[in-house]
Symmetry: D2
Subunit: 349 residues, 4 copies
């Protein structure tokens, strides 16, 4: 950590910073420049950060150098991690050397719809089934999801098609029941910074699919992951699903460079959700290809048997034929890129 003093800081101001850091068990290196003094801090950076040195007289700025996250950082864990979802012979890996396709309907609407979507997903090569029982909707007048009934339907559709299931939770009070029915819990972009929800999810021990907030930096995303990790759960998969920009023709702007940026900063797997990011069916396949090419560990897409009747985000759901086109890209592209991927999309045959 580096403390930059203001041009007019007095020797007493410098001494005050030094004393405070040393009282917290740190060492200081004072460099007196032409117009400014700089104090380097060595020791427990988190303790120093708590001192709020910026509030002291004569301090112009405080720069933090090491990562503010630790457990999810690649600095101390250089090997990239693999997260396993599901149990027994249905276990599915997400991580380096694999490419995993996650698919399903945006929302569970009925037993028929969920099962039909699961079959489409499965036959196109998906290995994880995702669908929502609770939807975080902007409007109180929009379809809120089927709740616990939806969870039960989803679990049955997963069993019928041999896929572990992923579902989103939006309220910490629903986390225990969700963990009973689902193999992986998703924290959506609007909840990324909800510490109570992150803690509740962490404590179930289930793997977590953590979406990036629409305006979160990569560091803020990793800090959200750190909240989960700090409760002892490191089975976290990061999901990039678009950032808010000034472009109105897509719902958000998929940030594909965030994939290699997050993979360089953290050991956690990173997947991309092109359906929610763009909100337009015609862009899902090109984006999924680009996600593979940029190095993502998987993609998550919406599929619906009848998108034009969907209760939630129909315009972004793929038809079966489009999903098969995507599946072809999943089979061919990794090899063309020189990746030695185990096709996680086909775990058992």
């Amino acid at each position: 950590m580096v403390v930059v003093m203001a041009p007019g800081a007095t020797p007493e101001d410098v001494a005050r910073v030094v004393a405070r850091v040393e009282a917290a068990g740190g060492e200081t290196f004072v460099s007196t420049g032409v117009s400014r003094t700089i104090i380097g801090l060595v020791g427990d950076v988190d303790a120093f950060w708590q001192l709020d040195l910026r509030a002291l007289p004569g301090v112009a700025a405080v720069h933090r150098i090491s990562d503010p996250y630790k457990l999810v950082s690649r600095q101390h864990h250089p090997e990239r991690s693999t997260v396993w979802v599901g149990s027994g012979e249905r276990r599915v890996p997400l991580g380096p050397g694999r490419f995993t396709l996650i698919a399903g309907p945006c929302a569970v609407e009925s037993a028929e719809q969920a099962l039909e979507a699961a079959h489409i997903a499965r036959s196109a090569g998906a290995s994880l089934l995702r669908a929502g029982a609770w939807k975080q909707r902007t409007s109180p007048y929009a379809f809120p999801g089927l709740g616990v009934t939806g969870l039960e339907i989803l679990a049955r559709a997963g069993e019928a098609t041999g896929m572990p299931v992923v579902t989103e939770v939006v309220d910490p009070r629903d986390v225990p029941v969700a963990a009973e029915h689902a193999d992986m819990l998703q924290v959506g972009s609007a909840s990324m910074a909800s510490v109570g929800l992150l803690q509740a999810v962490a404590e179930t021990g289930r793997p977590v699919l953590l979406e990036r907030g629409h305006t979160a930096t990569v560091e803020e995303w990793l800090m959200a992951a750190e909240h989960i990790a700090q409760r002892g759960n490191l089975d976290i998969v990061l999901c990039e699903r678009g950032i808010r920009t000034f472009e109105p023709t897509t719902r958000t702007t998929p940030d594909l460079v965030a994939v290699p940026v997050a993979q360089a900063a953290s050991h956690l797997p990173v997947v991309v959700d092109p359906s929610h990011a763009a909100g337009r069916r015609d862009l899902v396949v090109p984006l999924a290809r680009a996600a593979i090419a940029v190095g993502a560990d998987g993609v998550a897409v919406d599929v619906h048997p009848h998108p034009e009747d969907a209760l939630c985000h129909g315009p972004q759901a793929l038809h079966g034929a489009e999903l098969r086109e995507l599946a072809r890209a999943v089979r061919r592209l990794p090899a063309a890129l020189g990746r030695q991927d185990t096709p996680a999309a086909y775990p058992r045959s």
Copy 2:
């Protein structure tokens, strides 16, 4: 609502839209232009929105016209509302014709600190005391607040100084205990879109101070308020506390034009929090003056007996002298602007 058909849409495509709207009980007006057909919809716009007409073949775009929020809209409730906080002779109004000063420490740290800050606030003219017992922190290694102990301390400081108290809740599971101790519950910017929290807060019947999300539009802010209103609680005060922009020298950018924009769209009172918005003590008084001048119904500021020792956001907390400077602006400016304000800041003398 207006449905815009694509240039190549067929008469069958148009007929399909018409049929679907009519099946939902609506009327349609079809205008066939040189290169496009436009269909006007009259009837229950929310029902039409659920139809997801954008997913139908031949549809290029769907424009919604009336406000998506209803209960908080000024369209159907032209008079601006006043929200009362506290009970008995400690009741404090927020709304048109008043200007209300809310002040207190960012976080409750100890009984002494809370009481000392409350006295500073009170003697400078504040009528509501605000302090945090739970803090939504980016880092799991930062001070998280004192929890229920903090609530108890805050309630006593409010009683000692004769002010109703406001406190933030971040987890729906904490809402019942918070409602026992506090007169008004705050939903912070990071939680603005957390539907579970909005519903839990609404159901306590306590007035709500609803911060705008850092990247929320005014419409999204009002939709969050609508989630509260839809559960039967209309005692909502909107709080503008800065939006995320590209400017790095302030924590966020206070969006003062949002005050008249929100007041034109909604009947709810609107206050500004210049302390959290800017994050810099030197900007709080100029911003508070500007908030009064632009028409805000109140301001909320951080005050701390010893900002340099604060456990949370010390660099933004005012000293007593600065708070008194602010209080002078509160007394003088409204009259200079031709506002006939009852000085809510001095409710009883």
Copy 3:
């Protein structure tokens, strides 16, 4: 175009809009809804836009429907265009069914540096040489480029390696001399909205590489292209080079979805510049792969014989070995994606 009247608009307000539109030669369709009247306009939309109907009493909003750009729109020109750069046997195509690699140093620094960079680019498969003689720098104290001397050096490096050359212009007064020496003129992101520069460049008749502004929407980018097209020059190639977002670890955020979005809206070719977009060498190859996968018609990258000594943006310039890795992706990926690309990167052997 659709005019939405305010809830309280009077019949006179409606009549005034109708009269004004009809006076301008248009037709109107009035739909009277439950709470609002909507007026559809058929005829010359640009003429209607000039009427500034939004300023009339009772008008709540005016929605434009057709594209505001015409000559660059794909609506009236469904075939995608190919732009040829250079003359004689050095002509290089940019457009559908090709993939074109553009490379060179960010700035011309000396004859030796430019020639060495050109050889690296050429031997790795580039077919267009790009380098800057004038740099639009944030600081007046930064290297501004060699000006006309730089142009002469660049032209000689292009001749020596058999590649047409592209160079950026930043001032309309420099356009004539730039057009004498360069085969294609680039308009940089900071100048995208400079109408005088767009017009000056258009009038040279040279093909134009038009970078997207850092915060421009795709529509604004196409409007800038329309300024060029409207002066009779349709040889325009769009270049996506990153948008400003809240992420600080990359210079900007490359917006890859803008490639298919722009290709759907316009017939012009679209290329991506991953070097300037990310500003980090380690991200250039993954991003270039993703650009190919998402459907770009080419990529433009910085290459420098000695990046660590570069006077401009050294941290983003590829070494020769990295450029060859990129060239391998250029050879393999299009086929894996099912594109039948003529490898424009090797125009003559």
Copy 4:
């Protein structure tokens, strides 16, 4: 300046940085921490910046400490500056201790319209007349301004009403003729980063009204001013006119906190343009009041004799009655704020 080495940097990497800085005439202070080495640099920071130390092996980051701008910085020029516009007895000051009202029509449309608008402005208390002869329009099909004819009309309207005139230039080739007719030249937000235009304007010796770019940080705005100052022209007035945000109901979001932020960083005067910032007439007066309250040195507003017929931005232009309401605020507010302002709005009576 501070160079932060990567965790795995070798002693050779450190020595290379030290050697390069010393070769450039600087001194270094090396601090070896637990996991990182930090090198403080003392000497000519601009020379160090040119070294591009970030490109060297082992370097993780380079932090600049002093301001990158010098001539416009308040660090070396603590007194705030006053800029005088016009000559002889028509000279008008902009700067501390004054409040200056600038008004006029967005575009010169005809001699009658310009003169009528000038009279409205003058009688409401404006002391500078602003109108555009060239407009930087998004669409090539929009009204581009009257050019030199417009300049001549504007100059005559200024003479007739006794006000110096301000006009925008968008192309460096038009600067000489604009400087013949206008007392102050405006550089618009879309041109803020156009170095050629900044230099051309600087060299006329006329005072410059420099708008902030829609997505520029305050530092980038001051760097644009530095380009002007570096050519020897320090008569620069900064104009805040809105930043691009996600809010769609106003054209841009006026950033009022930028006023005290820029005044703290630079000695130049700062004014606000609420008309272009918000684009809505109903918000101009509240915003102008807030601009005064936050400490702006002036405001610039659009006024038009018949806003509903304006060829440019009619919906934001004030009528005469609204301008008089604004003028009342200009007279009363500064005193209520304790400012001892010379009413620059009435320079001669």
